[in-house]
């Protein structure tokens, strides 16, 4: 009985007892959820447009962030560094298209997946060669102050950087959604995602579209990298954290942009809540590393297409 009480009742009693703690945990969870969302978004974009599961997306985040802080450490102005990094990511997209995708066109998806693993390891090594393996802090002028908010039930502590990250992410997602639905290129991207053969027949050059998609994914990776870097410093561990995007994708569906966003938020908030209200008191903590994967597995049993996904994926 005792154990049931601890699992089913006590956590909720705590939540009600200390609403300000609950809110803080939630905010913390949601802000890291936003990061997961951004990484997942990169996966979804590429998967939708080309049917490729890009294992390297996590490394993209790291690689983009590395370039960005590397340039800044060389004394480049943050805005200029940002622009140059976008250029690098676009060049990377071109290179991936020319050197990897085109030669492998019409191959099995598994081959392409293996190729992206190759890209991942190459970039990891290449990044280290270029910029070294140290943890680098990101200082882009994102204000990092602790804010105290007085709410009706008590005071809560909020990191301004977290808020900032949330706003940027929301902005980015909105821009992407508008881009996809209201511009000709967005329409072309959706067309390619929908039916390759038909897209070819109306004269959409698939390769150009792929370059654009990979570049956009690179851009999203950069945004995620900067924000994550600002929080934790740019370090190689970033690429493993980025793999949290996997359970997010399973939750949200591999082909759904809203799914990636909502999935990320759920995973972020869920793992923090679980850690603080169940994990620490019952299991001694450290549940954050595996909680998301368990949730994803449960999801696979009951709703394999994810919350927003269209049917089950056949390509990977």
């Amino acid at each position: 009985m005792e154990i049931l009480y601890l699992i089913l009742i006590d956590p909720f009693v705590q939540m009600v007892d200390e609403p300000s703690f609950l809110v803080e945990v939630l905010i913390g969870g949601l802000t890291s959820g936003v990061m997961y969302s951004l990484v997942a978004l990169g996966f979804v974009l590429i998967f939708k447009a080309s049917g490729i599961f890009n294992f390297a997306q996590g490394i993209f985040v790291l690689f983009a962030a590395l370039n960005f802080v590397g340039l800044m450490d060389l004394g480049v102005h943050p805005i200029l560094a940002f622009v140059i990094t976008i250029g690098i990511m676009t060049a990377l997209a071109f290179a991936v298209d020319r050197l990897v995708l085109r030669p492998l066109v019409n191959q099995d998806p598994i081959i392409l997946f293996m190729a992206t693993i190759g890209i991942a390891f190459f970039l990891e090594g290449f990044g280290e060669t270029l910029w070294g393996g140290d943890v680098r802090p990101v200082r882009v002028g994102i204000p990092d102050a602790a804010l105290f908010w007085e709410l009706g039930f008590g005071e809560i502590l909020v990191q301004s950087a977290d808020l900032f990250a949330g706003v940027i992410a929301a902005f980015l997602v909105t821009v992407l959604a508008l881009f996809f639905h209201f511009t000709p290129v967005g329409r072309a991207l959706r067309a390619v995602a929908d039916d390759h053969q038909a897209a070819l027949s109306v004269g959409i050059p698939l390769n150009n579209i792929w370059v654009i998609v990979w570049a956009v994914a690179g851009f999203v990776a950069l945004a995620a990298g900067i924000m994550w870097g600002a929080k934790l410093g740019v370090q190689f561990a970033l690429s493993t954290i980025a793999l949290k995007a996997l359970p997010v994708l399973i939750l949200g569906g591999f082909t759904s942009i809203p799914g990636a966003i909502v999935g990320g938020l759920i995973v972020g908030a869920g793992e923090k809540l679980f850690e603080n209200f169940w994990g620490v008191p019952l299991l001694g903590g450290a549940t954050e590393d595996w909680f998301a994967y368990i949730v994803a597995m449960i999801f696979l049993f009951f709703r394999p297409q994810g919350l927003f996904g269209e049917k089950i994926i056949e390509r990977v």
């Binding site: 000709p184 290129v185 027949s201 109306v202 004269g203 150009n208």
Partner: protein
């Protein structure tokens, strides 16, 4: 009796193999400007392969295809589209998640002059263009009488209407040569009649040259100015519907088929 003008597309000695399987062997014919040209033959005769060669999905190992006086052997589908070849598919290849309007808009993709980057940023020029293209698309929508389904996602439309939307998308590109892969397949009588009417008025009023594959002999004989008959990847006959109908080889080929 044909309204044919100059040769628009010339297919010469085309052979296509998939591994050891010969899909097409030494096929030659010409399509003239302004005509409706039908490619017929029993199942597996190589009709769709022929169409796929013309619009660049397949690359024949031998032979040449000359379009508008330009000879080419290898061409990508989007290049064929850029030169003025549009097509529809036997099994409908529409963007199911998009509305009718968006689908037809994709047909304008190649006519967009603003550079990809400009479009991506959707700057002033891109926006003006979008409006101009929308006008053209509305004309096509009017032409094919699909106003009522403008904002409907095509995945929700009945089969016959999906076929019409696919034709609309092909027409939006203002093609010089329109390839129709079994435009009447799977339709009921009424839908077939509608489609016939639209194919004819496309040819008459827009002056589009049309090459089509069709199983329904009645439709072929009514619609087309000239017919080429394929069997086992080889050309069996070519001529007006009347000539082809009387050809003994053709009759045999079809009788042979009707038993399986």
């Amino acid at each position: 009796m044909t309204r044919s003008g100059d040769i628009l597309l010339s297919v010469k000695d085309i052979s296509l193999r998939f591994g050891g399987v010969r899909a097409l062997t030494d096929v030659s014919f010409d399509i003239h400007e302004g005509e409706i040209f039908a490619i017929i033959g029993p199942n597996g005769a190589g009709k769709s392969s022929m169409l796929n060669c013309i619009n660049g999905f397949y690359h024949p190992q031998e032979g040449t295809i000359t379009f508008k006086g330009e000879e080419r052997r290898q061409m990508r589908p989007h290049e064929a589209a850029a030169q003025g070849i549009s097509r529809t598919f036997q099994n409908i290849a529409l963007f199911k998640g998009m509305t009718t309007l968006e689908n037809v808009m994709t047909g304008r993709m190649l006519k967009m002059k603003a550079s990809f980057v400009e479009q991506a940023l959707y700057m002033l020029r891109g926006r003006q263009e979008e409006i101009a293209h929308r006008e053209k698309v509305e004309e096509v929508i009017d032409f094919l009488e699909i106003q009522a389904i403008r904002k409907t996602p095509v995945g929700r439309l009945p089969y016959g209407l999906q076929k019409r939307v696919e034709l609309a998308r092909a027409l939006a590109a203002e093609p010089e040569l329109l390839l129709l892969d079994e435009p009447m397949a799977g339709m009921n009588v009424e839908e077939k009649e509608d489609m016939c009417r639209f194919v004819l008025s496309t040819n008459h009023e827009l002056g589009t040259t049309i090459a089509l594959i069709e199983h329904d002999m009645g439709v072929v004989m009514d619609l087309s100015d000239r017919v080429v008959v394929l069997d086992y990847g080889k050309k069996l006959a070519e001529g007006t519907p009347g000539e082809v109908r009387g050809n003994q080889d053709v009759i045999d080929a079809y009788l042979g088929v009707s038993h399986d």
